[in-house]
């Protein structure tokens, strides 16, 4: 838990209404979870993510609320996958999006393969591109250096691209 809450160090009494925090971050958390565990499991992880945040509220006043809640969501997604004891479901149950014309692979095709990546690369790709965190924020979430986070994201991306053009 200490790593999860690193970005949430107490700096002042927090009087922000939790409802406003929920409204501000629900889309970002949902998008990361759909990419991480699929839409079916996203709701359970979503509930657990905000429950953990509510329990820490108001004693925790995150300096970077977005990175804080996405880091919690990432760890809930890992817990979920571990508890299920198998690899995540393929990213295949998302809302239909019109296929782009032409042969270029769509980014949604890429997301359907992200689960096949090694754990570090998968985590970095998910947090960087589904969570839209900076490499530094990804590094904080994963407890690695910024360079390592950047490298994992780029290597993961390269691997996905190779597979798609194979």
């Amino acid at each position: 838990m200490s790593r999860t809450l690193r970005a949430g160090r107490r700096i002042a009494v927090n009087r922000e209404p939790f409802q406003r925090f929920l409204d501000a971050h629900r889309d970002d958390v949902w998008r990361l979870l759909v990419a991480s565990v699929g839409r079916e499991a996203a709701d359970d992880c979503f509930q657990e993510t905000f429950l953990a945040a509510l329990r820490a509220w108001p004693d925790t006043r995150p300096e970077n609320p977005r990175a804080w809640i996405l880091t919690i969501a990432h760890r809930k997604a890992i817990d979920h996958v571990r508890a299920r004891g198998r690899r995540p479901v393929p990213y295949g149950d998302l809302p239909e999006v019109p296929a782009a014309p032409g042969p270029a692979p769509r980014d949604d095709d890429v997301w359907s393969r992200v689960h096949a990546l090694p754990p570090k690369q998968r985590a970095a790709v998910l947090l960087r591109f589904a969570g839209d965190l900076t490499h530094r924020e990804v590094a904080n979430a994963l407890g690695t250096s910024e360079d390592a986070a950047r490298r994992s994201a780029h290597e993961g991306l390269k691997k996905l691209r190779l597979e798609l053009t194979r």
Binding site: F18, Q19, L22, R31, D43, F46, L54, L94, H154, L157
Partner: protein, 197 residues
């Protein structure tokens, strides 16, 4: 997808909104609130585990966000929009405005009111439907007949209007005097109760 970036996955914002609503409805918040429509305007109702703590005229309190901010500051920031937890409040208000209810049976949380104000509001809550009283009488019932002015202040700060019927308190000449939701509302509530003005 380019060499260095990847667009985030598509998702339906309605799914995220539904997940958030499910969370707010079931999570163990200290304060649950709802926005309630009524014939005298939009109200923000908030409850704790003790009972109804706030019923705010939205327009006279700076809007819903300002009311929620105030509740976060004065009650708890662990506050969530959970309309189902205010179902009993909404039902009793509906019955009152439809003329089917003369007394409210809701449990109240007096946290937002200091001790003297609490005695004033409890004396006010004892004024029956359709009956009016005066600041002096309420002050006396609250235990301090000389504190008419402090009584006026306590009534003006009533956090639970309508349910705690401060609209039934008039000045010694029988004038409406003042109301936290505007005099037009005080008048509308008294007319609803059949008081001749």
């Amino acid at each position: 997808m380019t060499d260095h970036t990847l667009l985030p996955p598509a998702f339906d914002p309605a799914d995220a909104a539904a997940a958030a609503a499910r969370f707010a409805a079931t999570a163990p918040a200290d304060v649950a609130y709802a926005v309630v429509d009524s014939p005298v305007g939009t109200l923000v109702a908030a409850r704790t585990e003790r009972g109804l703590a706030r019923l705010a005229y939205e327009d006279y309190n700076g809007g819903v966000d300002a009311v929620v901010d105030e509740l976060a500051r004065k009650l708890s920031p662990r506050i969530l929009l959970a309309p189902a937890r205010l179902d009993d409040v909404r039902r009793e208000l509906d019955e009152y405005f439809e003329g089917r209810r003369r007394d409210f049976d809701l449990a109240l949380d007096w946290t937002l009111t200091p001790p003297f104000g609490r005695r004033v509001l409890q004396a006010t809550a004892a004024i029956p439907f359709g009956v009016v009283s005066t600041y002096g009488t309420v002050a006396a019932r609250a235990g301090n007949p000389r504190a008419a002015r402090a009584t006026g202040r306590a009534l003006g700060a009533n956090p639970i209007p309508i349910v705690v019927p401060c609209h039934r308190v008039l000045d010694s000449k029988g004038a409406l005097h003042g109301y936290a939701g505007g005099l037009h509302r005080k008048e509308a509530l008294l007319r609803l109760e059949g008081v001749a003005l």
